[in-house]
């Protein structure tokens, strides 16, 4: 197969697939998908969590073999599940999860990902640097080449994923939720870049969550729901926002679903969480906390804003009891818990939605029911030591059904769930009974918009039921909408405190350290 150069001709669609079907166990992930994507345009693909967007992207990229159906890239039919064939037909993928090995230097990672005809099997370092210096010009210049991937900020890693994809001279770019980890400013830069690529004749298929982003970047839009293509590809100008969200959610919208959260806060206790001059050691990723004072009272949502990496992770893990306090004290409901282990804090009514749901929120290899029941198992010390597995499994499946986790059986390992479903699983566990204080770190990151709304309504519902919520988020709109008070973190300290209504400019200045 030859690599097509220059813009593909308009008659041959860049990507054509016919009656694609994929199933995992009893779950039909894709059902009879037929789709033509015209060359030289930006196509958006939207849908709820678990609608099959990532699976479709993987099938097109050759990472997942379909059960039936065919894929043609620029007119060449691709053998099912053949990454190399898809690549040599000119298609490259930018994954939802980063695909560059963390310990590799940038030059090594690019060399791994993209073979060049002039590459020998043995290389010298200077030779690698020379080969890749042009490609990295846009992402920080040549001195980034010797940096390890894990030491790069998340935006640079994202840009490198695109560099990697384009390095193999791709004419078709598949981006799977590239904006999930990006700040709004970095998202704008990414979209600018994509438009530039499109104008150079590159075809782009981008999986997105937010309709605002679809409107901002896409030429056409397609909607997946429950593994079926329910809309498109249609010109973006010919589809209204309302039509789109109807197509995404389907005939039974869950907009008015009851929020089944209850808070166990007792009425007398007002001050639920208190941090008094708390300091902690710096971690490999973040500054430590520098004398933080913070309170969360009953019936309020306290927002924490800040550019990522300014101590938010340290704050959450200090409250959760996962990292040590060097100075100061942490109080839960008036009781000192500075040195108490996480389980005791949980018994005091603390609940946690952690930053990184895959590594901190679940046990990836444990079955769903065990992940879901984990909280019910602590604090059983004075109860009968034996438990009923059947009862636990039933409770788990009820809770997961309520949160609309898409799963096959309660016995499947948690790592088999898609990203959004993992977040729903974590929420179904944490937002259960006994909650007094919730620490929610990026609770809506990676969720589709109906799930996002559900989470936001739940947080409000918790507050109204008497709980306190500490909401850490990088989404300013979310913070402005939900927070009763808003603190800004910078360099491990709280540098500004705001009350509603919020002044976006002032909050933004505080986030970038302009107040200092």
């Amino acid at each position: 197969m030859t690599v097509p150069s220059g813009p593909a001709s308009a008659e041959v669609p860049a990507v054509r697939c016919r009656s694609l079907g994929v199933s995992f166990g009893t779950v039909q992930a894709l059902h009879d998908i037929s789709l033509d994507l015209a060359a030289g345009r930006i196509h958006a693909l939207v849908g709820q969590n678990g609608a099959g967007k990532t699976t479709l992207a993987k099938v097109l990229g050759g990472l997942q073999a379909p059960d039936n159906g065919t894929v043609c890239i620029a007119g060449n039919q691709i053998p099912p599940g053949d990454v190399r064939a898809a690549k040599s037909a000119g298609l490259a993928m930018v994954h939802q999860h980063f695909s560059l090995p963390p310990s590799f230097t940038v030059a090594e990672a690019l060399e791994l990902a993209a073979a060049r005809p002039e590459s020998h099997s043995v290389y010298r370092r200077t030779e690698l640097y020379r080969r890749w210096q042009n490609e990295v010009a846009e992402v920080g210049g040549t001195n980034v080449l010797a940096t390890r991937i894990r030491d790069l900020p998340v935006e640079t890693r994202q840009s490198l994923e695109i560099v990697r994809a384009l390095a193999s001279e791709a004419r078709i770019l598949l981006l799977d939720e590239p904006t999930a980890l990006l700040t709004p400013a970095a998202t704008d830069t990414l979209f600018e870049r994509l438009r530039g690529l499109r104008d150079d004749g590159v075809t782009i298929l981008i999986v997105l969550h937010k309709l605002r982003e679809v409107a901002a970047v896409a030429d056409t839009v397609s909607v997946l729901r429950d593994g079926k293509l329910v809309l498109g590809p249609s010109e973006i100008s010919g589809v209204s926002q309302g039509q789109l969200s109807d197509a995404i959610v389907g005939p039974a919208p869950d907009a008015d679903r009851a929020i089944a959260v209850e808070a166990a806060a007792n009425a007398e206790q007002q001050l639920l969480l208190e941090l008094v001059r708390v300091s902690s050691r710096e971690s490999a990723f973040e500054p430590g906390l520098a004398s933080i004072d913070l309170t969360v009272e009953a019936r309020e949502i306290v927002g924490i804003a800040g550019v990522e990496g300014n101590g938010q992770r340290s704050l959450v893990s200090v409250i959760a009891g996962l990292s040590a306090v060097t100075e100061g004290s942490v109080l839960l409901g008036g009781e000192e818990v500075t040195r108490a282990p996480p389980a005791r804090r949980r018994l005091r009514g603390l609940r946690l939605v952690p930053f990184d749901r895959n590594s901190e929120g679940i046990s990836r290899s444990a079955p769903l029911w065990l992940n879901q029941s984990a909280l019910r198992l602590i604090g059983r010390r004075r109860q009968f030591p034996l438990i009923s597995l059947r009862q636990y499994k039933r409770q788990a499946s009820e809770a997961m059904d309520l949160w609309r986790v898409r799963y096959d059986t309660v016995a499947q390992p948690a790592e088999s769930l898609s990203g959004g479903n993992v977040q729903r699983l974590v929420l179904s566990r944490e937002l259960a009974s006994g909650l007094e204080v919730l620490v929610a770190a990026q609770p809506t990151r990676g969720l589709d918009f109906s799930a996002t709304n559900f989470v936001r309504r739940s947080l409000r519902g918790l507050r109204d039921a008497g709980a306190g919520v500490l909401l850490v988020s990088s989404d300013l709109d979310e913070l402005f909408e939900l927070s009763d008070r808003l603190f800004v973190m910078y360099g491990g300290s709280i540098v500004a405190r705001f009350n509603a209504p919020y002044d976006r400019q002032a909050v933004g200045d505080a986030m970038t350290g302009a107040l200092r």
Binding site: G61, L63, V83, R84, K87, M93, H95, H97, S99, L100, P101, P102, S103, F104, E108, A109, E111, L112, A113, A114, A115, S119, S121, V122, Y123, R124, R125, R150, S283, A284, F285, R313, S317, G321, L322, S323, A324, R339, P341, D356, S359, E360
Partner: protein, 305 residues
């Protein structure tokens, strides 16, 4: 002093060779605890085939073949069959230790040790005193071990194959999305690993000595594995670690000769192992920060109370 250095080189060579085997496997993501079994299989096959054919070269070729075949079986068990890597590796070690002892009895009707006339060539001989002792009486394998380390370094750190290997070990998803089949790369790594173990075993039986003895590896495969960890799975680092363990061994042997009247023999025998534990602890201290970063998030650590 010269004698200690000479013994160091002789003790270190098989460790370094097997440590290279361990580095290849480790970088492909395999915690290879079958090194010991492959090493003793290599030692036995060299002696058995070498003695039967009268050719040490044929013996070593046969050893390489047998060890690569066993490695392929190991790959098949942990890869396509999905067995636990550590358990299967320990199983491979048991098969090697038990199998060679059994074969010694079944084929040659010998218990304990089998002596042989075949021996690896020794390029420099005859020095009895002075600095010449350091390089004298070493087998050809000791001489080419530094070359093998250099080649291992080039392959692992300066070749596209090395990049694929490291990607498979660290982050298979990255390898897959670059169009690499992780399973095939693991097989290649294990085959290389098997060949290197065969050389390490051969050096032990027909390089430094002229016999095969049941359990003659005596934990060297595991010490080589420790050298891999201690050397941060870098070929040069692991080679230096192997050299260090060789030195510890040499000091142990030398002090057995010199000071056994004053110090209990058991204590002297402990020296190499105590040094090994100490070295591993030290290596852990040095690398604590980088390991933390590699584990993903520092918050995952146990709290400090």
């Amino acid at each position: 002093m010269e004698q200690v250095l000479a013994t160091t080189l002789r003790s270190a060579a098989p460790l370094v060779l097997v440590a290279m085997a361990g580095v290849f496997a480790f970088r492909a993501g395999i915690f290879h605890l079958g090194l010991e079994g492959l090493m003793i299989t290599g030692a036995f096959t060299t002696v058995a085939v070498g003695d039967a054919t009268g050719s040490v070269e044929l013996g070593i070729l046969a050893a390489i073949g047998v060890c690569m075949a066993l490695s392929a079986v190991y790959w098949w068990v942990i890869g396509p069959l999905g067995a636990n890597v550590i358990i299967a590796g320990l199983g491979l070690t048991s098969i090697g230790l038990g199998g060679t002892a059994f074969a010694l009895g079944a084929i040659f009707d010998i218990r304990g040790s089998m002596f042989t006339d075949v021996v690896l060539p020794r390029p420099v001989r005859g020095a009895t005193s002075g600095p010449g002792v350091i390089i004298s009486e070493h087998s050809i394998l000791v001489w080419i071990t530094p070359l093998i380390v250099l080649v291992a370094w080039i392959v692992l750190r300066r070749s596209r194959f090395g990049l694929r290997l490291a990607a498979v070990g660290e982050y298979p998803f990255a390898a897959r999305s670059a169009g690499v089949n992780p399973s095939i790369v693991r097989l290649q790594a294990l085959l290389i690993s098997g060949a290197l173990c065969a050389l390490g075993g051969a050096e032990l039986s027909v390089g430094a000595l002229r016999n095969f003895t049941e359990n003659m590896t005596n934990g060297r495969g595991f010490i080589a594995f420790v050298a891999v960890i201690f050397g941060a799975w870098h070929p040069i680092g692991a080679a230096l670690a192997g050299l260090f363990f060789g030195l510890a061994d040499a000091i142990g042997i030398q002090s057995q000769i010199n000071i056994t009247e004053r110090v209990p023999r058991e204590f002297v025998l402990m020296i190499p192992f105590v040094l090994t534990i100490f070295a591993v602890w030290l290596g852990g201290l040095w690398r604590r920060r980088t390991l933390e970063a590699e584990a993903g998030y520092a918050e995952l650590r146990e709290p400090d109370y």
